[in-house]
């Protein structure tokens, strides 16, 4: 019986012209935005490669100089994007394209086009993902709003009732039918997008797993809108009332909730000012954490320890470069302070993100948006994964130059030198993004919110079926 209703719903879509109009609209929208996102992605990747090669060449050819001076030349590293970033660039405009690695200091990302925007500005960028999570639910509403109310208005609902079918069979049949029809409408655009992705990128099993999870996520997301549309259509007396109610819900979920969520998160967990952040780091390095003592006291203790270790009375008499040794000691302490403050900053952003989910009571869009950017590897957690790898690399190459400096000088002299062979020997930054399981673990809250919305929408559909009056 349900199969007959599903077939009839698809037939209705095909014959009344809605299929052609919707399929064409979705095809143009999705393909257009996907091509634009994809072109931007390709351009960014090409720029990253070109700049990365240029910077590396400059690093390799610094000539003869002090290893620490060479380290101060610094190295730019770039986060490689996953293929899905072509669909959802996520936080790219806010997290930046590159990280500048230099001695003494851990940096934040650079070249963020939207650095001056607020948290709420993260929503509403026109991308393929925006079409998927913001515009397509509106199309689902356009398909579903009169699914029951029109049957009631035209009298076919009475005819159906008289056949002895239950409200539950009717509503669930129509629900599955609408969802199938929607997938059918969506499929040309999705197939073209996937073909472009497969052609432009060498997709690996991790990319495919992420795509599969994202597809299931979006299917659940559209199922929420379909079930709610159906339930409202069954409950309200006229198609017009149904349409107004569903558009209001769409507005609340897609446009209002993200902004309210961002505002709530900012007010409950304010972000620190950049100047305060760096001042706090500077203060803790100078004055020390807990009972570590201030910079002068720590240096004095270190000096004493080194002199004792090597059995000399003055740094000038040490068999290795004391300046490099002391610098390394101070950098390690600075790293400890940086780790502490960066950790707090991350916690603050993570809490903001979790708090923004409070507005998910208005709709499932925040969760879907967050799940999409997480699976695309363009969320905060993937960014932190990259930042940590970059910080490890910073420790590696600064440590290497400090070693050369220390080994090639004595006492307090600063005459150590390195050449192009040394700079060449520094390994390139080789970053592997985390796998899909990492993404899934990261997105647990989004998945819970989506599951809760789906359960609520289906419960409403069951309730509407029980109360269905022809």
């Amino acid at each position: 019986m349900i199969i007959a209703i599903v077939k009839k719903e698809i037939l209705s879509l095909l014959r009344d012209g809605r299929f052609l109009v919707l399929a064409l609209s979705i095809f143009i929208l999705l393909s257009g935005f996907f091509l634009a996102s994809s072109a931007e992605y390709q351009q960014i990747q090409a720029e990253k490669q070109a700049i990365g090669a240029d910077v590396r060449q400059q690093w390799d050819n610094q000539g003869v100089k002090n290893p620490h001076s060479a380290a101060h030349f610094g190295i730019y590293v770039f986060k490689p994007d996953l293929a899905l970033a072509a669909i959802d660039p996520g936080l790219r405009p806010f997290t930046g394209q590159s990280l500048w690695l230099e001695p003494h200091k851990r940096n934040l990302n650079r070249h963020t086009p939207a650095a001056d925007q607020t948290l709420s500005g993260r929503f509403g960028q026109m991308t393929a993902a925006f079409v998927l999570y913001a515009l397509l639910p509106l199309m689902m509403i356009a398909l579903a709003f009169n699914a029951i109310s029109q049957e009631r208005e035209q009298g076919t609902l009475r005819m159906l009732h008289c056949l002895g079918i239950s409200g539950k069979q009717l509503l669930f049949g129509k629900f599955i039918g609408l969802l199938s029809a929607f997938v059918l409408v969506l499929s040309p655009a999705v197939l073209v997008s996937l073909s472009i992705l497969a052609y432009q990128f060498s997709l690996n099993s991790d990319d495919l797993s992420r795509m599969l999870i994202l597809s299931l996520g979006f299917l659940s997301y559209y199922a929420i809108f379909a079930a709610l549309s159906m339930a409202v259509s069954a409950a309200l007396p006229s198609s017009r009332a149904v349409l107004f109610s569903l558009v209001a819900f769409w507005l609340a979920s897609v446009l209002v909730a993200p902004r309210i969520g961002a505002a709530v998160a900012e007010s409950l967990q304010p972000s620190p000012e950049a100047t305060q952040f760096w001042q706090a780091i500077h203060h803790d390095i100078q004055n020390g954490l807990d009972n570590d003592g201030n910079a002068k006291a720590r240096e004095a203790a270190f000096k004493q320890q080194v002199l004792q270790q090597y059995g000399v009375e003055r740094p000038e008499d040490l068999p290795l470069g004391y300046t490099a040794l002391l610098r390394h000691f101070n950098d390690e302490y600075a790293s400890k302070v940086h780790d502490l403050h960066f950790g707090k900053l991350r916690d603050s952003f993570q809490q903001q993100q979790a708090l923004s989910h409070l507005a998910s009571c208005l709709g499932p869009t925040i969760a879907m948006r967050s799940l999409s950017m997480t699976l695309a590897g363009m969320d905060l957690r993937h960014q932190y994964h990259f930042d940590d790898a970059a910080e490890q690399y910073r420790h590696y190459f600064i440590g290497l130059t400090d070693d050369w400096d220390r080994q090639r000088s004595q006492g307090t002299q600063r005459n150590a030198e390195g050449d192009n062979l040394d700079w060449h020997s520094v390994e390139a930054f080789n970053y592997s993004p985390p796998n899909w399981q990492f993404a899934l673990t990261t997105a647990w809250l989004d998945l819970v919110v989506l599951a809760a919305w789906l359960a609520a929408a289906l419960s409403l559909l069951i309730l509407a079926a029980r109360r269905l009056k022809p």
Partner: protein, 239 residues
Amino acid sequence: MSHPPLLQAVNLVVHYKSHQAIDNLNLSVPAGCVYAMLGGNGAGKTSTIATFLGFNLPTSGQVLIDGETPQQNPEAVRAKLAYLPENVALYDYMSGLENLSFFCTLAGIHLNKQQATELLNGTGLQADAHHKRVAMYSKGMRQKVGLAIADAKQAKVMLLDEPTSGLDPSAANDFAQRIRNAADSGMAVLMATHDLFNAKQVADRIGIMKTGRLVEEFDAHSVAHDELEAKYLAHARGL
């Protein structure tokens, strides 16, 4: 009329909020009988049919279809009945044949194309209309599809709400004949109508309703047409 009643209203009272739509109605329609309910607008005819369909809940009393109330087992009760409203609601984007197959499938009857065609032929729907979309059908053609659904269901009971309203005389006559045939094959038919001529032509019993009450009931064959008209007008004018 020795058959047991398939349709019964027993002391039926139905209220819509404060408005009393049906006031202590008692009627019964056995198998093979066409019962015509006459009455003006607001007399309670459509409310009675809606109550038999289970769309209205009795305030007191009950309706029985083949001994069961629609509230006890709504799906099973509805499976026994066919319903033809004034305008038979079908899906405009589907053909008559597709509508018939769809409604029958939902009723648990799986027809092949030949069976569906035969059913439509049996109602007199022209063969060249079977594959045309229902949007192009006249009211009479839609009713024929509705009758085909009722035939396919092999319903025990048929409920008709103003079935000949808007039909041309020839189509109304044709329709009346088909209803008579359905009753003769053992169906119980309850028909709400304004059409005295049609009622006299097809019905076995006639009841006249006014403000929710059954004010008079008689054997249709026992009255002449002008006598029926006189009775109807007398009640309508409050005489």
